[in-house]
């Protein structure tokens, strides 16, 4: 339970993708998303689907785990598909049932939209959430955004906040459970009564929880000061991220994929799609 939250959806592993520099992974997933939106032809989509399958295989994460990530989005996927199916008009009318008209273009569009969403999910989960811990992502973001510090964007403060939040989530979950137990032992009832009664029943949990969170924040601030923390200025990091040749090769392959998509759109579309 606790580890679920700290590590998000991270699946432990030692694959090539796991070992990539998280900064490169962030850039690569942005590029990949751009490439997905560049695809305008059946051949390009085919290539992207193949590449996605390839990347999934490369992570050595069981594909069913990645399918599970799609479950919460199932409703949105279906909804967009249905909208496209029924409301897209075109030249080739296939079925007409009263006011419902289904065109061939509608079916194609629905399929492609679904495919596009699936590709987006795979891209973000394979490159980021499944193979990179939130901690590594935070560090990578801090370093990627470091140039913004010159524009007085509080990059370090943001990343320190994230670090501390990630660190304290399990502690506070534990604490919440303890307080719930304690109040339950005193006969508190959180499950019956009207909405207002239930809301009121939360007071004995929320007040101790807030007080404890403030106490912890106060003690942590003192501890950080005693450890000579004075903000981002003059700070070094033990784990500086290093990009190796394999990271650049990986990034190039995404760029090449983009180039291939553009070329396929242009010269071998098989079927051009208006999305």
């Amino acid at each position: 339970m606790k580890s679920d939250i700290t590590f998000g959806q991270y699946v432990e592993g030692d694959s090539l993708i796991h070992r990539l520099d998280p900064r490169i992974k962030i850039i690569a997933s942005f590029l990949y998303i751009v490439v997905i939106f560049l695809a305008k032809s059946a051949s390009a989509f085919l290539l992207l689907t193949l590449s996605a399958v390839f990347f999934v295989l490369l992570t050595r994460i069981p594909p069913r785990m990645i399918l599970r990530a799609m479950k919460p989005l199932l409703f949105i996927i279906l909804f967009t598909a249905i909208i496209n199916l029924f409301f897209m008009t075109g030249e080739h009318l296939l079925v007409q049932l009263g006011f419902i008209k289904i065109y061939r273009e509608g079916i194609v569009n629905a399929c492609l939209i679904v495919l596009r969403i699936l590709l987006l999910i795979v891209a973000t989960s394979v490159f980021l959430t499944y193979t990179t811990t939130p901690i590594a992502l935070t560090d990578a973001l801090e370093q990627l955004l470091a140039p913004l510090k010159k524009l007085h964007v509080p990059v370090h403060e943001f990343s320190m906040m994230m670090t501390i939040a990630l660190r304290f989530i399990p502690t506070l979950i534990d604490e919440t459970q303890k307080i719930i137990n304690a109040q339950t032992a005193r006969g508190a009832d959180f499950t019956s009564g009207s909405l207002i009664q239930r809301g009121r029943a939360l007071v004995p949990i929320l007040i101790p929880l807030f007080i404890s969170a403030f106490r912890r924040a106060d003690e942590l601030a003192t501890a950080m000061e005693c450890r000579c923390y004075t903000g981002g200025e003059g700070r070094t990091r033990m784990n500086t991220l290093h990009s190796e040749p394999k990271d650049w090769v990986f990034l190039c392959s995404i760029v090449l994929l983009g180039a291939a998509v553009v070329l396929l759109n242009r010269f071998l579309p098989l079927m051009t799609i208006q999305l």
Partner: protein, 287 residues
């Protein structure tokens, strides 16, 4: 040289509409020589946690003077830089292990202080590895801290201080929330840091058996220093300790009560085997 020196420190918590002002420290003077192992012993409300607050400079005394690592903290011209410089020399380990660990992963937390000091990454790596080895936590370097026991968390916190190469470490009730096993682990490390590494140690505690391991005990009571001496001297007067709301080790209590029977037994033996050996000698064991 004294790494900490306090002269006539006083501190009062201001009251508000519901509460009266409380004078927590009254004219407290003492000094801690470099390399020593001192325990500050006192019941809750005796002023010992207020003293800790002053020593880590999250509060300033109302009056009196305080020097840390040769710098005066209470002068009119004391700057942030002076305080920071003092913090580089004197580290703190607090009571609640959960509220002093900053990063999720053990080694990243140990590195935190060194990172603040701006030490080059390679040097931090070396120090972190050494510090984790010194507290016996090397195998947990890449673990998240929340799965660790209380004693292990405190060892991580200690490693964070060691990695900063401080000359003095103040332990503010660092064992109070631990189980007996964790308490022993942490006390063993504290003792080793002092004896082997020569780090000046100041422990603030209400456990007399922990204080018995120090070279010197300062007893706080009612905001004042109530007794100051070696464990033998301080525990040698059990009535006075009881008066301060504290206990003495059971061996001392036993010997003290047996003295009433005319037995000449020492009050400064805190080890069960040693105590039994001396008692058997005096009483004459039947074999």
């Amino acid at each position: 040289m004294d790494i900490i020196k306090a002269e006539h420190l006083s501190f009062t918590y201001p009251g508000d509409e519901d509460t009266k002002p409380v004078q927590a420290l009254k004219d407290v003077s003492f000094s801690i020589p470099e390399g020593s192992f001192t325990a500050v012993l006192g019941h809750n409300g005796s002023g010992k946690s207020t003293l800790a607050k002053l020593l880590c400079m999250i509060a300033l005394p109302d009056s009196g003077r305080l020097w840390i690592a040769g710098r005066e903290m209470t002068a009119d011209d004391t700057t942030e830089e002076d305080i920071l410089a003092a913090r580089r020399e004197v580290g703190m380990v607090f009571q609640n292990p959960d509220n002093q660990i900053v990063a999720t992963i053990v080694e990243e937390d140990v590195a935190f202080g060194c990172e603040n000091l701006g030490i080059p990454p390679k040097e931090i790596r070396r120090r972190v590895d050494e510090a984790l080895a010194a507290v016996g936590m090397s195998e947990y370097a890449r673990h998240p801290s929340y799965n660790l026991s209380g004693g292990q968390k405190q060892r991580v916190a200690i490693a964070g201080v060691i990695a900063m190469r401080r000359r003095c470490i103040i332990f503010d009730e660092s064992t109070a929330m631990l189980d007996p096993m964790g308490r022993r682990e942490v006390m063993d490390i504290i003792e080793r840091l002092n004896r082997e590494e020569g780090i000046t140690v100041l422990i603030i505690t209400h456990h007399m058996n922990e204080a018995a391991r120090a070279d010197r005990i300062l007893v706080m009571n009612g905001g004042r220093i109530f007794a100051d001496g070696t464990p033998a001297e301080v525990f040698g007067n059990p009535l006075r300790m009881w008066e301060a709301g504290l206990d003495v080790p059971q061996t001392t209590e036993l010997c003290w009560k047996l003295r009433a029977d005319g037995l000449d037994v020492p009050l400064d033996v805190f080890d069960a085997d040693e105590c039994a050996r001396i008692l058997a000698e005096k009483i004459g064991g039947r074999r």
